[in-house]
């Protein structure tokens, strides 16, 4: 397992492309979109050859024009070898690289109905959150198929892989992908079995302090990695935890999305926290960890290695504890 270079600040690593909602004429937009889609399709083929398992049977189904409204959906499509059918992605989609060259149509938060319809999709896949329901109805009214999938639990991610696989003629590939994911999960479970169960705090933001709460896919991963998520008590998915509570709960391990000296300065004020005292505050790369989707297997392995380094000796060297300077 290779972790991303911790010296590169997280903000630099993920791309934040501005939405390419063009103010140009319809024809030109179409031409551009088609051109880009062709280019991307070529790249996607290369990419898929690498990602998709060779055993995968390419089911005979009509080629679709798919618009994805969420990173997890995009990653799933590419992982299933259907990347060449994707003609539009959300502004937050930054993996695989081929996806970043596709036209952007907003996101599950703010889908751009005109941009979506302009790509003449035959299938639009969204998350069905309150933020994109209305827009998806409009798209559906144009006669295009619209489906929604979930991505906020491990179960939902696997179900969404199967759903998407079924819709794009890659059901076998989906079954194989889920089986590989299950095998990775089982292997992590086996490695951490019988270990002491440390208290863990996983942060996704510092301003405010937002933790991974319960009923999220990350909480599922923490549980599989045999740890106790201290943010459960909040009863929220993404609680803004009080620092007093964190000090009082004494987490043994802190997984902190923010790496480098800023995180070190932040934590070094709270020296009684066992994770701080024992240098067990780890930075993690937001990509893939904060991306639900088919890469949760490698996310799980990274998190488990931080929580139980003794059980993952080959990954221990790749960990990057946050420097808590005195």
């Amino acid at each position: 397992m290779k972790l991303i270079d911790p010296r590169v600040p997280m903000q630099l690593r993920s791309t934040h492309p501005l939405t390419g909602a063009p103010g140009i004429g319809y024809l030109r937009r179409m031409a551009l979109a088609i051109g880009r889609a062709r280019l991307a399709a070529a790249a996607a083929l290369l990419c898929c050859a690498r990602i998709a398992a060779p055993a995968m049977a390419a089911a005979a189904s009509p080629v679709q024009r798919i618009v994805s409204l969420a990173p997890s959906v995009t990653e799933t499509l590419f992982a299933l070898g259907a990347g060449d059918q994707v003609v539009g992605v959300s502004q937050y989609c930054d993996y695989p690289p081929a996806a970043t060259r596709l036209p952007r149509v907003g996101s599950f938060l703010t889908p751009n109905v005109e941009a979506i319809i302009g790509l003449r999709p035959t299938l639009v896949i969204g998350l069905g959150l309150s933020s994109d329901t209305r827009e998806l109805e409009v798209v559906r009214a144009t006669g295009c198929s619209v489906i929604t999938v979930g991505d906020d639990s491990l179960q939902a991610i696997e179900a969404s892989i199967r759903d998407i696989g079924g819709r794009v003629g890659r059901a076998d590939a989906a079954r194989a992908l889920v089986a590989r994911l299950d095998a990775r999960i089982a292997s992590v479970r086996a490695r951490v079995a019988g270990s002491r169960r440390p208290r863990v705090l996983m942060l996704v933001g510092h301003e405010p302090i937002v933790a991974v709460g319960w009923r999220t896919y990350l909480d599922d991963l923490l549980t599989i990695a045999n740890s106790e998520n201290i943010a459960h008590a909040s009863g929220q998915q993404w609680p803004e935890l009080s620092i007093e509570y964190i000090i009082a709960t004494r987490p043994d391990v802190i997984l902190d999305g923010q790496m480098g000296t800023a995180a070190g300065r932040f934590w070094n004020r709270f020296s009684t926290i066992p994770a701080v005292r024992n240098h067990r505050v780890y930075g993690y790369p937001d990509n893939p960890i904060l991306h639900p989707g088919p890469r949760v297997g490698s996310s799980l392995e990274m998190l488990a290695a931080m929580i139980h380094p003794a059980r993952f000796p080959q990954s221990a060297a790749a960990l990057h504890p946050v420097e808590v300077a005195r």
Partner: protein, 356 residues
Amino acid sequence: MIQSGGAPQISRVGAGFDDLAGAHLTRGRMLAIVSALAALTAAAALIATAFGSVHISLERALFDPASPDHVIFVAARLPRVMMGIAVGAVLASVGAALQALVRNPLAEGGILGISGGSAFGAILALVFASRIGAGQSVVPIFAFAAALLSTLAVYRIAQVDGQLEPFTLLLVGVIFNAFWGAAIMLVNSVVNLYYAHTILFWLMGSLEAPTWREVAVVSGLGAAGFAVLMSKARDLNLLSLGDETAAELGVEINALRRNIFIATSLMIGAAVSVSGIISFVGLIVPHVLRLAFGSDHRLLLPASLLGGAAFMVLADLAARVVIAPAEIPVGAITALCGGPFFIYMLRRQERGPFAL
């Protein structure tokens, strides 16, 4: 909304001053009121220090440096209460001064576009400074600079024929505030989810996890700005009689406006750079105190300083404990208290003589 009939004659800020002119502000009365408010603030601070999202033992907190209680007390709770005092004091005293300056009861840092500009600067720094290699430390600098620029722009644009009409100033301020709000939402729509959450946090305002250094910076700049306001307290009183009368009585109107504006934008910039936009504190606190003690700014300014501190500390206590261990942004609490109060003020004012 405030004025009926369309004439920009909306000043009532000074109405109470006439009554007070007879009843002199004696040293004894001032001392009594200020020490009572100081006691209130101290009591609020004590309560806020005693309670939190977790229970701590005061004995261990004070005498056992190795205990989590001690760390919670010294590194989390105490700086937060101190920051509440500093930010509340700044917001309320700035509100009191600006209300006198533009002779409008609705003035505060938010409505004059100062805190909007400051928040925009902070958010720009937060989102983009890290990409060009600058650290988080540039955030307060950007917040100041933007507060100052926004203030100066409002000040310049509101001037008509070299005169600063309070009504025009207020309108320009409101427009600027809306403009900054829109600019912030624009930034919000092009950044990733992580930053979108941070921006929302800035817009709601929170006193979460301040460092002692931040407490020192806000207190220091707040105190310096407050000293300027205090030194102009008498001029602010005279200003309530109208620009002409004040000028006849020896007040240099333009210099006064400029000084107050710069001092307040420094204070607001400092507060916003750590706490985001906390609304309504600058509005409610001075009004309540003006009702209670009259509008002599020699008393109103220090009273607002203390009252703002007490109010903010208690609001933040609520923010910390209501849904513990999670937190509510304190700005939501102050706005929940402030909104209904605001409407109450408007209704009172429409009905009849209201000595603000």
